[in-house]
């Protein structure tokens, strides 16, 4: 099958939303704002997680002339993930912990208001070892901030005044938040982090107007907690969809282990207004020592499709049953339409940490495609298309070899062939552009005991660039989700840990850990432009239009996983340790930072010459 060029048009989204719930749509303004490409009104620019803009002023022909328009310090030297939002003449910028929010007047780049929350510093250790935040959401005239300490705050977008707050979890037992909240229709959806602290994952929906909790859908436990109907919630079974049955989660855990089951929900969510379904993935099961938790550990590592209004699960698909590698399933679900046998199929595309790129029918949950998106992946040979289960190679199975055994050369490493850094779908080429990791690991599990608020990991890992390859730790790839094939692949020295943007200008933009913002042709990956930032890029590229000019932006500020890798590379002690690999190099390129960069094209020919 091949992709149909047709995907959601933003106009269609608005119409569909109105049709489904006139009342709800009438008092939310987000759909209209997203339909206007001048804005970047949500983290992905749309509900479907396509991260594609119709703007084309900056295009493959002139991207080589991009220049810095203005910059702004965030005042924080930590990992900067996510991106600002732009609505009309205002940009809303967020920071890592302490999670400040700044409203910037685009006219003169002055601050309209600032919100600087006071959070208990005790939350930092449980976020160990970095304090990222993936950004804000907008809806109903409010800016929504999901603080690290699990406080959810609604701010008046005009004034920055607090409208309501809600508490989403408890940092004392290791519950924190790094995810961006998402507004879908009249609901604010958020999740929870803490998969390394025995936290039990769930997705939570709030009323955008009042902050009242509408539903909570747990990842593990009894059917009523999961919001499953054993007879109606479906999953891929022997080549077709079948009901999950009673106690589908409980049956796959020993005793009450599901209470520490993980399955956290810190990724990017998406929404189909026609189906009224929310899509997201759950993370790793509790403790990384698989011997300690026999069973498939449902529904960790799972794609969920839930009704937005009730939270009820329509279908689920577990990608990595009984995880032995920390392959969280939280990466974004991109909603696109693919063509199969001449028919258009509403699909969901997902690049999992486990190294397989999945295409599912998003209406029914049927498995259509599951293929490796990095040839280095070796822990499983294929995904059995009948059962949906990866065919695990026992050589690379820490659960088979057991505790206190070092399992070597597993590809990918725990951070996956791709982590949270979101991909982009380009309708013109029908391709997804994917920022990936090219890293392998050794994995030694060991016995751990649970103690509330203490790390609950149970494995020692080392990571290194994929052997027998180009020596780098990342690739930027173009992917055909209809067939599951890599169209082209650009080797990168380091993991590509930045969210991708594509535009109608036939350009894909992404950042690198060294700090290069790059523009490449969506046709063939040819590099059109690059610019070196002061600090490495783990944020997501975004674009907007203001007073007739297109702008492009991204945060510069290395940290998180990447910063820690860099710090490790800085050490000279190698006694007993092999080469530190490509990451050692990172310290030659960059250091910590926290700056927003905004680019545009030169105003006139003179400026163009100067820029060159």
């Amino acid at each position: 099958m091949t992709y149909a060029a047709k995907t959601f048009s933003r106009g269609a989204l608005v119409v569909a939303a109105l049709a489904i719930s006139a009342a709800a749509a009438a008092d939310t303004d987000l759909e209209q704002l997203m339909a206007n490409s001048s804005n970047w009104a949500s983290q992905a620019g749309d509900y479907a997680n396509q991260r594609h803009s119709k703007l084309a002023q900056i295009n493959a022909g002139n991207a080589g002339n991009l220049q810095v328009a203005w910059t702004m310090s965030t005042g924080v030297l930590r990992g900067h993930e996510g991106s600002p939002l732009v609505i009309g003449d205002t940009m809303y910028m967020h920071t890592p912990f302490p999670n400040n929010v700044y409203a910037i007047n685009l006219k003169d780049q002055t601050f309209k208001w600032k919100y600087e929350p006071k959070q208990d510093a005790a939350v930092i250790p449980v976020m160990c070892c970095d304090t990222v935040n993936r950004g804000l959401a907008y809806g109903d005239g409010k800016i929504f901030l999901q603080q690290a300490d699990t406080t959810l705050v609604a701010l008046d977008a005009q004034t920055g005044k607090v409208v309501w707050t809600a508490k989403n979890g408890d940092a004392k037992i290791g519950e924190t938040n790094t995810n961006a909240p998402h507004v879908f229709k009249d609901k604010l959806i958020t999740g929870i982090s803490g998969g390394e602290f025995g936290v039990r994952g769930r997705l939570i929906a709030y009323d955008v107007h009042t902050g009242k909790k509408v539903w909570t859908a747990w990842s593990t436990g009894p059917d009523e907690d999961l919001l499953f109907d054993p007879a109606k919630t479906m999953t891929w079974t022997n080549g077709k969809m079948a009901p999950v049955g009673k106690d589908s989660s409980l049956k796959t855990w020993q005793g009450t282990q599901w209470k520490l089951g993980g399955g956290t929900t810190w990724g990017w969510y998406s929404y189909d207004p026609k189906l009224n379904l929310v899509y997201y993935g759950s993370g790793n099961p509790g403790t990384w020592n698989p011997a300690q938790r026999p069973g498939d550990n449902k529904w960790s590592m799972t794609i969920f499709a839930r009704d937005l209004d009730t939270g009820k699960a329509k279908w689920v698909f577990q990608m990595t049953p009984h995880d032995e590698w920390d392959f969280d399933g939280v990466n974004e679900m991109v909603l696109v339409d693919v063509e199969e046998g001449g028919k258009k199929v509403p699909a969901l595309v997902h690049f999992d940490r486990n190294g397989f790129g999945y295409t599912l029918n998003r209406v029914t949950g049927e498995l259509l495609v599951a293929k490796k998106f990095d040839p280095a992946v070796n822990w499983a040979s294929t995904v059995d298309m009948k059962t949906g289960r990866p065919q695990v190679d026992k050589k690379f199975s820490p659960g088979t070899t057991g505790p206190d055994v070092d399992v070597k050369n597993i590809c990918p490493a725990a951070l996956g062939s791709k982590d949270e850094q979101p991909s982009s779908y380009d309708p013109a080429t029908n391709l997804l552009f994917v920022p990936t990791n090219h890293v392998c690991m050794t994995y030694e599990p060991f016995q751990v005991e649970y103690s509330a608020g203490q790390p609950y990991v149970g494995a020692t890992l080392t990571m290194f660039p994929a052997p027998n390859s180009h020596g780098g730790m990342g690739n930027f790839i173009a992917w055909d989700a209809a067939t599951g094939t890599i169209k082209w692949s650009l080797p990168e020295r380091f993991s590509v840990w930045s969210g991708v943007l594509t535009t109608d200008g036939n350009v894909a933009f992404y950042g690198t850990l060294e700090g290069y913002l790059k523009a490449v042709s969506t046709k063939d990956g040819k590099e059109l432009w690059k610019f070196k930032m002061p600090s490495g890029i783990i944020g997501n590229v975004f674009t907007y239009e203001y007073q007739g000019r297109q702008y492009l932006g991204v945060y510069s500020g290395i940290g998180g996983w990447a910063g820690i890798g860099m710090a490790a590379g800085l050490t000279g002690t190698t006694e007993g340790l092999g080469a530190v690999g490509g990451y050692k190099d990172l310290a030659r390129f960059t250091t910590l930072g926290g700056t927003l960069f905004v680019f545009d094209l030169p105003q006139d020919a003179g400026a163009k010459v100067a820029a060159n």
Binding site: P125, S193, D406, M441, F446, A568, T571, T573
Partner: protein, 143 residues
């Protein structure tokens, strides 16, 4: 995942050694002090071994690095040259919350083994105990 990739704080949580063979035993030193006994760098007395297991189970490496060389948290190879045993005790039990050091006061493993952990880290700081996996004095080092 651990650090970033890790489930919890996402990127935040994952750390690990960026190296090929963190656990390979090295032809190391043999020494006996008031605190620990080590042979060939990575075979240690039971008390110190329990300390290393505590280090591993409480995932101290996420902040202090797989070789105690420091990451987000300070280098313990350096810190243990200055900290007294009592200061060390206070730090692990109470934490230094403002600096990002958690309190391990509720951890029974830490309460039982903090002195062994102190011995282990002193051995690392002294340069007598090798980084990576440790083994019993009478045990084999190959897994």
């Amino acid at each position: 995942m651990p650090v970033a990739a890790c489930g919890a704080a996402a990127v935040a949580v994952c750390t690990f050694a960026w190296s090929q063979e963190a656990s390979a035993p090295v032809a190391g030193k043999s020494a006996t002090t008031d605190l620990y006994t080590v042979r060939e760098g990575s075979k240690v007395d039971a008390h110190t071994l329990a300390g290393w297991k505590t280090w591993r189970a409480l995932a101290c490496d996420r902040c202090h690095g797989p070789q105690q060389e420091g990451l987000v948290g300070p280098s313990l190879v350096n810190s243990l040259k200055m900290l007294t045993k009592e200061q060390f005790h206070v730090t692990v039990i109470n934490g230094r919350l403002d600096k990002g050091m958690p309190s391990f006061g509720t951890s029974t493993m830490m309460q039982a083994n903090w002195e062994g952990l102190y011995a282990y880290l002193k051995g690392r700081s002294d340069g007598n105990i090798a980084p990576g996996h440790l083994y019993p004095l009478d045990g084999a080092t190959d897994k």
